[in-house]
């Protein structure tokens, strides 16, 4: 589904990704972990098409298409979804009023008829139940005055509405209390099937108890320096990152 090959990306003069290689197949869950500032959110942004990042080397294939030059909207229509680490506030725009446009744009791209108002409301109701989010929240200005947890839940609600093929969850667990974490993880699991894939960026093992990864990668200094299975996450939880940094620095010394 997703083949990232030796991606280098920079912002301004600063090189942040220094050769990331990663393959994600349909049906898989990949966890990306790594110390603060190692480039996890940058990788997520590069996949979603943020234009500030310049790709200087490497390629990204999504379902066989090179997406490096694709606009963010076209990537979303192709089925890439990013749940933001820090969802921004947009005064005057409610989730409901932009999601209707979004859902119908994505449907159009997939050759489906646009949803009329009742059908849209029906879909919304279903997905609201899935992530246990209230309609009143969705009617308010996006994220304005939302609690940390409400923001994250709203991201997953949007994911549920758009039914992406590849969802990238960037620290969706941060800011969630234990109950909310279960609800969100449950929602994500219900959306999983053999045709879609998920990349989970997280610092904590906690989330991975619920969304069980097939692979765990450690991103450090703009590169994936270690890949393992879910046991790697447990090991990181116990030992921290120093041993990985040391291994990496010794090899590159």
């Amino acid at each position: 589904m997703l083949v990232i090959d030796n991606i280098h990306a920079r912002i301004g003069e600063k090189e942040i990704l220094r050769g990331v290689t990663l393959e994600v197949k349909a049906g898989e869950v990949h966890a990306i972990m790594g110390p603060n500032g190692s480039g996890k959110s940058t990788l997520a942004s590069v996949l979603a098409g943020r234009e500030e990042y310049e790709i200087t080397e490497g390629s990204i294939l999504f379902n066989g298409k090179n997406i490096a030059d694709m606009s963010p909207e076209d990537r979303a229509r192709e089925g890439i979804f990013l749940a933001f680490q820090y969802p921004i506030e947009i005064p005057g725009v409610s989730t409901i009023n932009f999601m209707k446009t979004a859902v119908n744009e994505v449907r159009k791209h997939r050759g489906l008829e646009p949803l009329d108002a009742p059908a849209f409301l029906q879909l919304m109701k279903e997905k609201m139940e899935l992530v246990e989010i209230s309609q009143s929240l969705l009617k308010r200005s996006l994220n304005e005055g939302f609690s940390g947890g409400e923001k994250k839940r709203n991201e997953i609600f949007q994911m549920a509405m758009l039914e992406p093929k590849l969802a990238i969850l960037d620290e969706t667990d941060s800011g969630l209390d234990i109950d909310a974490l279960k609800i969100v993880a449950n929602g994500v699991n219900k959306l999983r099937n053999k045709d879609n894939a998920i990349i989970v960026v997280t610092h904590y093992q906690r989330l991975l108890d619920y969304i069980v990864p097939d692979f765990v990668h450690v991103l450090y200094n703009g590169k994936i320096v270690k890949t393992g299975t879910k046991e790697l996450a447990l090991e990181l939880e116990a030992k921290g990152y120093d041993w990985i940094k040391n291994e990496y620095n010794n090899v590159n010394a």
Binding site: P72, E73, A76, F84, I90, P91, E105
Partner: protein, 418 residues
């Protein structure tokens, strides 16, 4: 033929000639308008050397030939659905039409020339600026509306100004409204012109609010096509009176709005809203003045602009707090969004505060649409153009949501979508 007859003489000469006709046929008004016309001639049209007109150059539109006599309308522009109701006054080309008005005895409408001498003295001495003086000199059929004591109107009074001449013309509508004690009313003034000629409207509207009068006023400049509009709106407040005025500008080659709110007595409150959308090469200039003359009054002002293409906008908001105006609250904010690299805004707040116990704040911002917000919406599958439209609509919403007439609110929400 009239058009070619004036083609070779200067605008001043034709104004003089037209003025002579008007003053000869209006013996009652003659002494008053004479004075105004002389004042205008003494100053002439403002140029960019005048600080108040620094960014708005009238030369381009004054160097054209305008007919100053009325012609019958060449097209009938029927007002939008929300502008149709029982209290509809229309001004077509050069004259008000007040026929067929279903008037209750609580409202009177009369030509200005039929009012008392005392009032005439007052109404012809209020304007200081040249173009307002020109307006009062040339407004041969100015109209005076009086809302009688204790009248509370549910429906808005609608005044449509429609310019559809057989050649480019210059017109001078003038409307005066007296709201007596303990009244409430709303007014929608809507200006439109057909797309055939670039005309020039120099208008004036004055409201005199007596004690406990409540005014809601909307000025719509949404269908001016390539015509230009210089407007003067003045609201004079007596005790415990309230006004809210909102100007929506989305058309016209050159628009200059002069708004004066004069808080002359205690416990008066005023809200000033403005929303302007400039595109192509249009120029939109809003000059507002709020004068707090006595203590305990409140003004709150918010103007927002969206400027695209090569368009330019000017905002100049003056707040004057006179020495006796203690306990004044005065707030002002102007926010602009530039949608194109060639769009420009000149924004200038101007505070003149001569009292010490006051609360005042002001701020002006000009920026582009938030890139982060654009990326967020695009990452959901919404294309760039639509994402921009969503953000523009949200920006405009803060003004539009205050419109208390639902049909007007809906119309504006659609109009300012992009």
């Amino acid at each position: 033929m009239m058009n070619s007859a004036i083609a070779n003489i200067s605008l001043f000469d034709s104004l003089r000639a037209r003025f002579a006709e008007i003053s000869d046929s209006n013996p009652v008004l003659k002494p008053y308008i004479e004075k105004n016309f002389q004042n205008f001639l003494a100053k002439g049209f403002p140029t960019i050397k005048n600080e108040e007109w620094k960014y708005t150059d009238l030369q381009k539109i004054l160097n054209r030939n305008y007919s100053l006599r009325s012609s019958s309308p060449t097209q009938s522009i029927s007002p939008k659905a929300f502008l149709q109701n029982a209290l509809h006054i229309s001004f077509v080309n050069s004259a008000f039409n007040t026929d067929n008005l279903a008037l209750s005895k609580n409202i009177s409408i009369q030509p200005l020339s039929q009012t008392t001498q005392e009032r005439l003295d007052k109404y012809f001495s209020i304007h200081q600026n040249a173009l307002a003086q020109l307006n009062s000199a040339m407004a041969e059929n100015a109209l005076l509306i009086t809302i009688k004591k204790n009248t509370h109107l549910q429906e808005p009074i609608i005044v449509t100004y429609t310019i559809s001449p057989d050649s480019p013309c210059m017109v001078f509508p003038r409307l005066l409204v007296v709201m007596e004690e303990n009244t409430s009313a709303s007014f929608i003034e809507s200006f439109s012109a057909d797309g055939l000629h670039a005309s020039l409207i120099v208008s004036s509207t004055e409201f005199y609010l007596q004690q406990n009068a409540n005014l809601i006023h909307y000025l719509l400049q949404l269908d001016l096509q390539q015509s230009s509009h210089i407007s003067h709106t003045a609201i004079f407040h007596e005790q415990k009176s309230n006004s809210s005025t909102t100007v929506f500008t989305g058309s016209g080659e050159l628009v200059r709005n002069n708004l004066l709110i004069d808080l002359l007595s205690q416990y008066s409150e005023t809200t000033l809203y403005g929303l302007y959308f400039g595109n192509k090469t249009s120029h939109i200039d809003n000059h507002t003045t709020v004068r707090h003359a006595v203590s305990n009054s409140l003004s709150n002002e918010l103007y927002k602009g969206i400027i695209n293409d090569e368009a330019s906008a000017v905002f100049n908001g003056k707040i004057i707090v006179q020495p006796d105006a203690q306990k004044t609250n005065a707030f002002q904010s102007n926010k602009n969004i530039l949608l194109s690299p060639n769009a420009t805004v000149n924004a200038k707040p101007q505070l003149e505060i001569f009292a010490n116990d006051v609360k005042c704040s002001h701020g002006a911002t000009t920026g582009r649409l938030d890139e982060e917000a654009l990326f967020y919406l695009r990452s959901r599958g919404i294309d760039k153009i639509q994402a921009q439209a969503i953000l523009v609509k949200a920006f405009a919403h803060e003004i539009i949501e205050n419109v208390h007439l639902p049909e007007l609110q809906t119309y504006l929400a659609e109009h300012f979508q992009n």
